[in-house]
């Protein structure tokens, strides 16, 4: 197991090193092959591990070496392999591989050197995420956590010649760092209270922590999760992260990065279950985010932006699940969401590829006949995310909503409203892009083409997964068996049995499906016929501008900070600190000039100086009392 895990983690790292160091020597073929092979091998190894665990191999912690070793703190470099991490391994390497494969065709326009750089980053991304998921303590998780943040920065700013993209990359990095601070504080807090940050020790010692400690730690961890998983108020980086190449968006949204926050909380479920207050906060933040970003998604015209806000909204659902204690449901949703969101992004990439980097859906339309495979798979993805049975999204979303209803029917009501909006904006996107008439230029229409096999194969695989992926978690009421719940039961203590009557559950499902269906029909009928999307007015305009949140942040946070920075720079630093420092420099120089006068060149002067010094030294000792006494008693 020890070697197997090392292989899983180190292969992508090897790919990163080779592609990164020899990026000027590789060809398209060698680079892509290397990158894809490492991830594929990692995936196969992960599958073996997954299989071993489901065959009854017990979870274990494997230690490689002492990472930090002091008297008071001992942090081992260890991996923890259990059912939860095994499942994430599969998602990360599996989806990661498909995205690698897809990228090998999508990124062909780049120069070979940048092509290699891209794949090096991509491999590093997977490596960091694996580290994050496998770490047996919060420190290792944090290393992966930071690695993921770094890679997202590198990849969002991949086309670094465009300043806007660099800005987006910086924004992602800074937003994440704000969250990281919370995470870091939580780790410090844990270490201060318990002396280490190993999961096993922490979870075994929860009863030794005071309620305040638990609440504070979980809240701080949640702040970290907010940053990484793009929750209000730290979500604005994710839509801007669309600046990166589209497969990167797929990677960030589906397999890596944003799921890190969910994973962290699911991993810490013991802590969270003991912190009721934090759970309330998580629910509120999750639900608000889900609704808020869904409203924004309705009025976006950039194909990737719609998907981005939809991710934020779906992440909100996952946090809702986490907050109401449905950890399994949240993880389930991570999985299904990984399938269909990767599918949707890659489909969008295929569309963008065909449209020669046009992303505005107002200029698309009628792509159905030009991109048949993309069209079908994209449609399946839309149905899945809208929660129509028996597609995968239905099962996971339903599980979360049911758990929410149990906690508080209002949560459920809001959740369903969000689901309706999801269905609406997804089919608005689908209808404007694929149905109706083509609205682009003649030239674009002429060049429309289906993407190559390396791009369509991942789409097909993901489409299949999106359709059937839900069957691992069929609720009891539908006569199924919750395989995933059973699999994860060693890590996540199963929620107390549903108190809901079967009839209630049927009703809940029925309502959410009906609402979604109505929203879909409305969206399709409304947008498929429209020759042109009209400019938004009133509330629509507010939504199109994303509730002016970016502007709000600029006015209330960024600008005051900049002003403060300007004040420090111009007043405090230039005249204060610089003046002080330069003053010291001038003073030293002045001293140096004066002291040179002693150096007269006269040997006599030098000798006099020596004599005077000896006398002074003696005098100092006289005051020490010893010679002084002698002089007084003997000489006088």
């Amino acid at each position: 197991m020890k070697t197997l895990l090392a292989i899983i983690v180190l292969l992508p790292f090897l790919g990163f090193l080779l592609n990164g160091l020899f990026r000027k020597h590789g060809t398209y073929k060698s680079v892509a092959r290397l990158a894809c092979t490492t991830i594929l091998s990692s995936f196969i190894a992960s599958a073996i591990v997954f299989g071993m665990l489901s065959q009854g191999t017990t979870a274990e912690t494997v230690k490689y070496f002492d990472f930090i070793n002091t008297d008071s703190i001992k942090i081992p470099f260890a991996f923890q392999i259990d059912h939860l991490s095994a499942m994430f391994l599969l998602i990360i390497t599996g989806i990661g591989f498909l995205i690698h494969l897809y990228s090998s065709a999508y990124m062909k326009d780049e120069e070979p050197q940048h092509y290699a750089r891209y794949f090096a980053y991509l491999n590093l991304f997977i490596f960091s995420m694996l580290l994050l998921v496998l770490g047996a303590n919060y420190i290792i998780m944090f290393i992966g956590w930071e690695g993921v943040g770094l890679c997202s920065y590198l990849l969002i700013g991949f086309w670094f010649k465009n300043d806007n993209f660099n800005y987006a990359a910086k924004k992602a990095f800074i937003m994440n760092r704000i969250g990281d601070l919370g995470f870091l504080l939580a780790i410090f807090w844990l270490i201060a209270r318990l002396g280490n940050a190993n999961y096993a020790d922490v979870f075994a010692n929860v009863h030794n922590l005071s309620q305040t400690d638990i609440t504070a730690i979980t809240l701080l961890l949640f702040v970290g999760a907010m940053g990484k998983s793009a929750q209000i108020p730290l979500y604005t980086w994710l839509p801007d992260a669309m600046a990166g190449p589209t497969p990167v968006s797929a990677l960030i949204h589906a397999a890596t990065m944003v799921t890190a926050g969910i994973y962290m909380i699911a991993r810490s479920n013991v802590l969270y279950s003991a912190a009721e207050f934090t759970q309330h906060i998580v629910v509120i933040v999750g639900l608000t985010t889900a609704l808020f970003s869904a409203t924004i998604a309705i009025k976006q015209n950039d194909i990737k932006k719609v998907l981005a806000y939809s991710t934020v909204s779906q992440l909100g659902y996952m946090f809702l699940g986490l907050g109401v204690g449905a950890y399994t449901g949240a993880v389930f949703h991570v999985m299904t969401h990984a399938f269909f969101k990767a599918l949707l992004f890659l489909g969008a990439g295929s569309v963008i590829h065909a449209m020669h980097h046009e992303q505005d859906i107002r200029k698309m339309g009628g792509l159905k006949k030009y991109l048949p495979i993309t069209h079908i798979t994209f449609l399946l993805g839309c149905i899945a995310i809208s929660g129509i049975p028996p597609f995968s999204g239905f099962f996971s979303k339903d599980e979360i909503l049911a758990a929410a209803y149990e906690k508080n029917p209002v949560y459920w009501g809001l959740g369903v409203a969000g689901a309706a909006m999801t269905a609406f904006y997804m089919f608005r996107l689908y209808a404007t892009t694929f149905l109706g008439k083509f609205r682009g230029t003649q030239d674009q229409e002429h060049h429309l083409h289906e993407s190559p096999a390396a791009m369509t194969i991942p789409l097909i695989v993901l489409a299949v997964l999106s359709v059937i992926g839900g069957f691992v978690g069929v609720p009891e009421v539908l006569g199924g068996k919750h395989l995933l719940g059973e699999y994860l039961s060693t890590v996540i203590i199963p929620e107390p049995h549903h108190a809901l009557a079967h009839n209630t559950e049927y009703m809940l499902m029925g309502i959410s499906v009906a609402v979604a269906t109505i929203a879909i029909l409305f969206a399709v009928s409304h947008y498929s016929k429209k020759p042109q999307l009209e400019d938004a007015t009133g509330l629509g305009k507010v939504l199109e501008n994303k509730w002016y949140v970016d502007e709000l942040y600029n006015t209330f946070i960024v600008n005051p900070l900049n002003a403060l920075g300007g004040f420090f720079k111009n007043i405090v630093e230039k005249s204060g600190i610089d003046g002080f420092v330069n003053g010291i420099g001038r003073f030293v120089n002045y001293l140096s000039r004066q002291i040179r006068l002693v150096q007269s060149g006269q040997v006599g002067g030098y000798i006099l100086m020596m004599v005077v010094s000896v006398v002074i030294i003696l005098f100092i000792w006289i005051h020490d009392g010893e010679i002084y006494k002698f002089l007084v008693t003997k000489l006088f």
Partner: protein, 469 residues
Amino acid sequence: MQTNYFILMHHELIIAITIMLLLVIKVGSDKLSNQLVANVTNGLLLASLVLGFIVQPEGNVFGDMFHTDGFALLQKNILVAGTLIISLQASTWLKDYEHTAEFYILLLSTLLGMCFMISSRHFLMFYLSLELSTIPLAALANFDLHLKRSSEAALKLIISSAFSSGLMLLGISFLYGTTGTLSFGEVASAIQLNTPLQLFAFVLIFAGFGFKISAVPFHLWTADVYEGSPVAVTSYLSVISKGAVLFVFITVLFNVFALYAHSWYYLIVIVSLFTMVIGNLFALRQTNIKRFLAFSSISQVGFILIGLSGGTHTSAASVVYFIVVYIFSNLGAFGVIALVQGLTGKENINDYKGFYLNNKMLSWMLGIALFSLAGIPPVAGFFGKFFLLLSGAEKGAYWLIAIAAINMVISLYYYLNVVKNIFIDKSDTSIEKLPIAIQPRIAMIICVIGVVGSGLCGGLYQYIFDLVK
């Protein structure tokens, strides 16, 4: 019994034989090849060095006036290695010099004096060897025969050195007057607290040492002497000679005056402070690179004194370790300067503008040496200073360490200023590509390996530390 002498004194014997040999060669032939003289000397120095690492005797001779052990042998090896490096570096200068044999005879005489000095366990022996190591140096300082400032340097050195010897002799005679003995061991046990005459003796002896290691306020001779002497002599004075005296200083402070430890602690702290600060202030404004290195070596002595103030095995080890590092780094810098000066006659910092353009290898050598002197990791200078400050901090004087750290920052300014001149500044009259002969090339490679190696190789400090015990 007789073989015992040979084994115990093998360093001294080989050096003495070399001196004799050179004398014979000099007298025997009218036209002798400089190359031959240099090769013979270098060869014998190398032999002595190798022997010094292989044969490690321990014992006393001359009625316990001469003592040797692993620690003393290490110190002698360090000095011999340093002298060898200087000899290799000087070959460019000595190639066409008419008095090469005399140069080596005088140089080796001082080395002989230093070796005896390190092994001496008796003040008489110590004083004799001290003079043996100083007087030839004055003659060496005069070796740029056609230069007036070289003669001036020699004269200044001999006069002020004579005076400091006078102080030291006075101190020694006070010591003899109060204790009735001159043997280190016996003096140490005869010394009592609160005897003013002994304190006075200590201050005088301290002044003598202070002069030799150019600690402030006994440092004033250094600038003129360093500037006037030939580069090889300057580097010898500022590195080897100082190192030797410091080695003995450790013995005298820690063994002979151990009883006064609480008193000399304050004295050394104050002197080290002055030495650091004033050395830095002087170095800050120098435009002549030789003078600049000389003054910066004064401030380095300040750091060494901080290490000494600790007064434990750790501080002895840290001082010896630092001197090893310091020999490599300072000689590395001096080697490049000697080469440049020997070939072009330029010795101003401004002349080094754009040096990197034509002399990549020399620039890197000088750069690495300067980084080490400034104490920047991962080169050895950082660890040297680190250990010094660490042992100085053992007594709890953190303010002293803070001041030392500030001084390191100041020194960073002027070391990096030279680096900036070499690597960044542009000049129309930058120095042409210089040919590097084989001997200086070897010397430089040794220095660079020493600077980088002694920093990265953690075992060296442990090795010294074990020997100190």
